[in-house]
């Protein structure tokens, strides 16, 4: 009966509150964020599918605060350093993939561009230290 009560109570609690505030969480030590495609230095014609790779951590939805998981952000031609105390900005050069997407169709104007991935936590904050991919440079013809 005691167990039953505990279970019932925690179930009720879980049902009522499910918002944990999380920022500055450390990422998994051996986690690697990388581009499956394109590779650094790639020459691309027109729009392309950019594919995101993540090892040793899981991809989940923004808002879901699971251990060892996050969601992708793609930074296009961003030079400013990342602020771990702020949510990852949302604008035309910081694309968010909060629905758990692992690829995106990217359409850039011709020229050289840099791409970098940043993993964000449930509240869109970078991990601390940030889990980022290498910044790659591609040329769109």
């Amino acid at each position: 009966m005691g167990i039953a009560r505990t279970i019932a109570l925690s179930a009720a609690l879980a049902a009522v509150s499910c918002t944990a505030h999380a920022q500055g969480k450390p990422a998994a030590k051996d986690a690697v964020l990388y581009f499956v495609w394109p590779q650094n230095g790639a020459n691309i014609k027109g729009a392309f599918w950019c594919r995101f790779g993540l090892r040793n951590m899981g991809v989940t939805h923004a808002g879901d605060d699971f251990q060892n998981s996050g969601h992708h952000h793609l930074l296009i031609d961003v030079n400013e350093p990342l602020d771990v105390k702020e949510p990852i900005p949302q604008d035309k050069s910081h694309l968010h993939f909060g629905a758990g997407q692992t690829e995106a169709r990217i359409d850039l104007p011709p020229g050289k561009h840099t791409l970098q991935l940043v993993l964000g936590d449930a509240k869109h904050y970078p991990f601390d230290p940030p889990l980022v991919s290498d910044k790659i440079t591609i040329t769109v013809r």
């Binding site: 499956v36 594919r51 993540l54 604008d91």
Partner: protein, 538 residues
């Protein structure tokens, strides 16, 4: 299944050689498949009665439960359904609620009339189309459902991994199971408590009863708590005077109505400064019609004096009526804003300010919005997904019995331009102090934008149309205006996984504060700068 998850995490590097799919966006989703066990037997026993009961269950239980848990019903078959959820936790909760409810419904029936669902939940990559969903993630969910005993909820290992620390239920591992047409075995878990276990063991019955009573108690307690403080009438008037700096001397009883009807951009027979006359290169409109004459005009209109305000006092947003007309939508400043095209709109009303935390929290208090927002009551509400915004306008429309809704993208831009064709409503050059944006003036960007209406209104009398908070509109995202409607209606065809946000925010630079600027975000994802503004059909 485990292979599948590995696949998602590494973005399917193995299948990279496959040609990219252009029009089939793949999503990670929790898929819930449910069907009624022994449907044909039930139909044999009592065809009409069963059909009617199943329909009622679908309408009264399944549909609302899915909606409550932020899921989407994608398909119903005669005796079953498919729904997708962004969150595995919500998906499983939804399954539990349905099963528990069915248990209660069956209790009063003879055993051979029981309607029992089998439910399977799986996490997987799916392809979503308008009225269906594909992919082996879906097949696995439906296989799980097939192997589940009546009244039970089976989940895959992928779901289990996501929810085991979040949902306190019993989970019974059933080991790896081979299922039809899926190569790899799937790890299967049974979620407890469930109705079958309920009828079998007294112990479980106790748990279930306790759980139910706890939930009931919580609901009753919460309802009581929210019903207790009822200072609406006084609060309302306070708020209306606060929120209306332009007309502080109005008799407060009339205030809501007058504001409601006040159409500032319609000075009596005044000439070119009116919205609809904006064909072609309209001259920048002098922001002449201040609110004062408008209010007077509204007061002159033969509005019957409100005999008695309707009982549940809901604070309606202050609305500005915008006369319809034609305008040139879009710009050449960004690829997403092209082509520049002509749009003709019908009249509509739009909120003078973005929705504030105070307004949002009334919806939250009514349990119609999903969370209570913290912060200054006069600050715009933020951290909303498009679905949250829709819930708010849905509640407002229901509570006021007026057709409140989100504006269409065209209506938003028309209202933001307020008759101008320049880059900003005040001209082609940015001026500091005109909008709440990043590095745009003396106001340092803070955690939350300052209260609504702190900057100058545009010629229509609208505040924060550019900068402040991003505002969700009704339209699905399209990457440019090719094929856009020209009648001002929302553009909802196509892939609706993301919706349009307008206005830029206090964290975006000045170019995002242009009336033509547009951006998008995932429909069901919250972000700290996203809020809304309401519109109202006449």
């Amino acid at each position: 299944m485990r292979d599948k998850i590995r696949d998602i995490n590494s973005a399917r590097n193995a299948r990279d050689s496959a040609p990219p799919r252009m029009l089939t966006p793949r999503r990670l989703a929790a898929i819930v498949a449910g069907d009624i066990a022994g449907y044909s037997r039930l139909m044999e026993v009592d065809e009409e009665g069963t059909h009617e009961r199943v329909r009622r269950i679908q309408r009264d239980l399944v549909d609302p439960t899915i909606a409550e848990h932020h899921g989407r019903l994608v398909k119903t078959t005669g005796d079953g359904f498919f729904a997708i959820f962004d969150s595995p936790v919500e998906a499983v909760r939804c399954g539990i609620v349905i099963q528990q409810n069915m248990q209660g419904r069956n209790a009063s029936m003879p055993r051979d009339h029981w309607i029992e669902f089998r439910i399977g939940v799986n996490l997987g990559d799916v392809i979503i189309e308008d009225d269906d969903v594909y992919g082996d993630g879906v097949n696995i969910a439906s296989r799980l459902e097939r192997i589940a005993d009546p009244g039970q909820l089976y989940i895959s290992g992928g779901i289990y991994e996501q929810i085991k620390n979040k949902l306190v239920c019993g989970y019974q591992s059933l080991g790896d199971r081979r299922v039809k047409n899926i190569t790899d075995p799937i790890r299967v878990y049974r979620v407890l408590p469930d109705p079958a276990a309920f009828s079998k063991s007294r112990r479980r019955e106790n748990i279930l009863l306790l759980l139910l009573s706890c939930v009931l108690l919580a609901i009753v307690g919460a309802a009581f708590w929210y019903l207790l403080p009822h200072p609406y009438p006084t609060m309302r008037h306070q708020a209306s005077t606060q929120a209306l700096p332009a007309a502080p001397n109005e008799p407060s009883l009339l205030a809501p109505l007058a504001r409601q009807a006040a159409p500032p951009p319609q000075p009596p027979q005044s000439s070119p400064s009116v919205a609809p006359v904006t064909q072609g290169a309209a001259p920048p409109i002098q922001p002449a019609p201040s609110t004062a004459p408008a209010v007077k005009q509204a007061a002159l209109q033969p509005h019957p004096a409100p005999a008695a305000p309707p009982a549940p006092a809901i604070r309606e947003p202050e609305m500005i009526t915008v006369r319809g007309g034609s305008f040139t939508m879009g710009s050449n400043d960004d690829a997403t804003e092209k082509p520049v095209h002509q749009v003709t709109l019908k009249p509509f009303a739009i909120g003078r300010y973005p929705v504030s935390i105070r307004e949002w929290n009334e919806c939250a208090a009514a349990k119609a919005c999903p969370f209570e927002a913290a912060g200054n009551d006069d600050a715009p509400v933020t951290n909303l997904s498009w679905s949250d915004a829709k819930q708010f306008v849905g509640w407002l429309a229901g509570a006021t019995k007026k057709p409140y809704r989100l504006p269409s993208e065209a209506e938003w831009e028309f209202a933001a331009r307020a008759g101008t064709q320049t880059r900003y409503w005040w001209g082609d050059r940015f001026q500091s102090g005109m909008a709440n944006c990043k590095n745009c003036g003396d106001v340092p960007s803070a955690e939350q934008p300052i209260k609504v209406g702190s900057f100058k209104p545009n010629p229509f009398g609208l505040y924060d149309m550019g900068g402040g908070v991003n505002q969700w509109v009704e339209d699905c995202w399209h990457k440019n205006y090719h094929g856009a409607p020209s009648d001002g209606s929302p553009w909802v065809e196509g892939d609706c996984a993301s919706h349009v946000i307008r206005s830029g925010s206090w964290k975006n630079g000045e170019r995002y504060a242009r009336p033509a600027s547009r951006d998008y975000y995932d429909t069901n994802v919250r972000y700290p700068t996203h809020g809304l503004r309401v519109a109202l059909s006449p």
